[in-house]
Symmetry: C2
Subunit: 291 residues, 2 copies
Amino acid sequence: MFNRLCIIGIGLIGGSIARAARAQGLCREVVAYGREKNLLNMQLAKQLGVIDEFYTDIAAALENTDCVIVATPVGSMQVIFEQIKPYWNPETIYSDAGSTKGSVVSALEAVFGAVPDNFVPAHPIAGAERSGVDASTVDLFVNRRLILTPLENTDKQALAKIHSFWEQIGSSVSVMSVEHHDTVLAATSHLPHILAFALVGLLGRKDEQREIFKYAAGGFRDFSRIASSDPTMWQDICLANKQEIVPLIRQFQAELSKIEQLLVEDQSAQLFETFTYARNARQRFLDQQED
Amino acid sequence: MFNRLCIIGIGLIGGSIARAARAQGLCREVVAYGREKNLLNMQLAKQLGVIDEFYTDIAAALENTDCVIVATPVGSMQVIFEQIKPYWNPETIYSDAGSTKGSVVSALEAVFGAVPDNFVPAHPIAGAERSGVDASTVDLFVNRRLILTPLENTDKQALAKIHSFWEQIGSSVSVMSVEHHDTVLAATSHLPHILAFALVGLLGRKDEQREIFKYAAGGFRDFSRIASSDPTMWQDICLANKQEIVPLIRQFQAELSKIEQLLVEDQSAQLFETFTYARNARQRFLDQQED
């Protein structure tokens, strides 16, 4: 599919993309670009066989490159787009793996005036409790969802190629608007992460005072699992998507206050209804996962 | 250990206690007591071989019974204690499996004036997303925690016997005060369940409007798992322990508001600290589970 794939940001996600692309024969060679401070990490990536070569010189990295995927935190993308800009090639396809899409589009607009038609915004939805290229795997994206959020002007062939790239990696590809993506992810991923961080933080301070983690059972283990997520990545995602997240936090607070009120007023029938609705909603969620 | 064990409330928990007691040879026979409306359920229990016999007549159920375990929702226990009261036997050991302990103690005080010294309050911490005697298993409590909350006047031999009973079933037994139990469980179990119910309810209504569950990933699945819990049981637990839960909800809301403020003010360093603290706290929790 591609002669030379360049990954910018060779961490868990970038490394896994590199591994998957090679395993599926989707590129003849894969290289990485990073700054001086990323040198050790890129050396490790080459050592692990994740990439063929790495560069701290952007021009050398992009030479003869027909596909570039930016897999850094979304907060750092504008600076990267600035670096690529002088070398931007209309024949090359550019894409990303950012967890939010609105902020990526804004960054491109800030640098280029408009989103270039050969940039295909993408988001592979993959678990990331671990981090770093040494945690990357060839199958991180297999049977996972990949969301593309093309703009009106996105080149149809570039879109088709990136669509096919990810399908061949084994992902289930969906297409939606930038706004819908950010709204959906805020609700199903960003807010739950924030709730988990808040709960585990609160209980962490209580545990320091009196032992409580010792008696926490399986329910807490599952619920809190996402609080083990990488803080750098999540600070980045939350800030990038705060426009969607902040209203959601407020809606959640309202929901929680309602339940608190039902408790205070001993409204057992309404509590039962609330919990039953949630249980049924979860079943609906599980049923949809089997699609 | 016991000649005749009587379980009041032969559902998931009561049924599993019966199965485990029989499997470990902890009683010669096990019977159930319930009301007319529980008849079909008790017939099923007998059919499944979970119990030897069942009764809707409390006197017959308690005849020659040397151990009684109340395994109904805590909200129904006071009525049950009233029923047992005329037949209360100082030679019999009484215990329960209620998810809250303060409310059980209050119910006993209301019926008897003080907690009888042959009642040993107990709480087996076991997952209950399923319900009913047909979901009961012989190993539900194996390698799970069992908390005993004896009062000052609790008979030492009765306590030792119940302690041994649960150890032989395979549980890891801890002893703590009623208050500490309810505080710890409010933080590690009750609040997380309420948060999950609130989130899944909120998202459920959004999903009805526009498809969002379809794109929810593994993190949401884990986080929301406890929202599949039995609504009857949880309405019961939350009301019984609301004195501990309501303040916790407020503390959680304060925590969430803090994070919301950090987002609004783009306080990235503090967000990073908050998320890092939570991640480390979770690691502390995981480390303690290996004890």
